[in-house]
């Protein structure tokens, strides 16, 4: 079963900043439509005749899919899905695509979109239309807690990283990970979640705030 699709580019794409099989395999006559880039939502809003597409996928930033498709008392959903390839700050994109569905999104559209991403070697996790989707929702509180506990001298940065790598088999400890992928970038991601969810564990930790402030001065 092939899932041919057209790609509509609208500015820089955080999911596909460089050449990738998923983009290369696009077909100008494809039946489905993929909107990529920072202007994906706006381009989707202007597009017409999407109802017959097996699926329509809109690249998301921090926002919910409902921002682009609208919501109707919990009955929202069509052939449109949202997606974002997970990447932590400045790190390269991972093979993970978080595929966003609304309550009534058609199962066939989800299956078709999933198959298209997987055909390009990506792995797809399906989630509801919630701020932070899956990975950010889980790792941002953990990373904030690590930064806070570093300030509180729970352990040195090196010992904290070593403990989590040796004890849980994590490939990299939280402090090293944040230093490598960007504390200011962490600030932006977790601040967006804090605004959306209003929960304290998402409030940017002091070290992330400092990094953001210094970035503004540079």
């Amino acid at each position: 079963m092939t899932h041919s699709y057209r790609v509509v580019h609208s500015g820089d794409s955080r999911s596909f900043p460089a050449s990738h099989a998923f983009i290369e395999q696009a077909d100008a006559q494809g039946a489905s439509r993929i909107f990529v880039g920072e202007g994906a939502g706006a381009a989707f809003a202007k597009a017409v005749e999407l109802g017959a597409c097996p699926f329509v996928a809109v690249e998301l930033g921090h926002e919910c899919l409902g921002v682009h498709t609208g919501e109707q008392k919990g009955h929202e959903g069509s052939n449109v899905v949202g997606f974002a390839r997970f990447r932590l700050g400045r790190a390269d994109p991972t093979p993970l695509v978080e595929l966003v569905r609304q309550p009534q999104t058609r199962d066939a559209a989800i299956a078709a979109a999933k198959a298209a991403f997987e055909a390009a070697g990506l792995k797809v996790a399906v989630c509801g239309d919630f701020p932070g989707r899956i990975v950010d929702r889980l790792v941002r509180p953990y990373l904030n807690a690590a930064l806070r506990r570093l300030d509180e001298k729970l352990a040195s940065a090196e010992d904290m990283d070593k403990t989590l790598c040796l004890g849980l088999g994590y490939p990299e400890g939280p402090i090293s990970l944040l230093e490598r992928t960007g504390l200011a970038e962490h600030h932006d991601a977790t601040h967006a979640l804090y605004l959306a969810l209003g929960q304290e564990p998402y409030a940017p930790a002091r070290r992330a705030q400092v990094a953001k402030a210094r970035e503004g001065r540079a």
Binding site: L88, Y142, L154, T163, G169, P171, E172
Partner: protein, 291 residues
Amino acid sequence: MSEIKTIGIAGAGTMGAGIAIVCARAGFRTRVFDLKQDALDRARSQTEGFLRKSVERGKLAGEKLPEIMAQWSGTTRLEDFADCDLVIEAVFESLPVKHDLFGKLDRICGPQAIFASNTSTISITEIAGGSGRPDRFVGMHFCLPAQLMKLVEMSPGLATSEETLARAWTVCEAMGQKPVKTQDTPGFVLNYFLIPFNNDAIRLVEQGVAEAADIDLAIKTGMGYAMGPLELLDLIGMDTQKLLCEAMHGVTNEPRAACPPLVKRMIAAGWLGRKSGRGFHPYADSKMYGA
């Protein structure tokens, strides 16, 4: 600084038996105490079984097996710890039980002996308060399974002397383990981060954000973790997670450490994880709880 040659392990459960393997394998005279003889017999048999497999896998020279087993001895009499230079406690997480144990040990062991607790959630300072020798008391938190995991969280209590920490650190390295220093706070480093992280993953399921399989896939693929949080919870067991939550939340009051209602419902349903054949994922090859 006196040399540590004989180590006592109090408690022959999974954790104590694993720590005893680490000690005996490193050449220390290792004495394991438990009130129940069958627990000691099981620990000894598990130790032999583990070492035999290590030999089969080429990780241990065959002639080392009897040497290591000769270092290992079990006892139901705490008085047999009289000549121990270090006692590591690995009994269940109850402050009164630990105080009672260390109170007795303080009368039995020589003044040079240092005491350590493998607790993962109770304050080292509080346990040391009932030991009669808080200056010679330290936290040594091994990871499960101790015989395979290298990490040991070393936590000094408020009164722990620098010499005690240094002696325990040295013996830990001599065991071939990798010590890290942490504050004496609930969960130390590992559980402080792990328990709330796992709870957050459970809440994503509760709130319908994603299915368990999608959450595990996302974390493994996005973060490169070897296991997803819900797979790990199935391994730990919902009953254990509840106990860990209660111990940590009871001290810290941190909302993320509070046991999610879904855990309690899963326990009521017998969905404990791998050990019952069903947790967040089904395990067809495991025994079904209550079946």
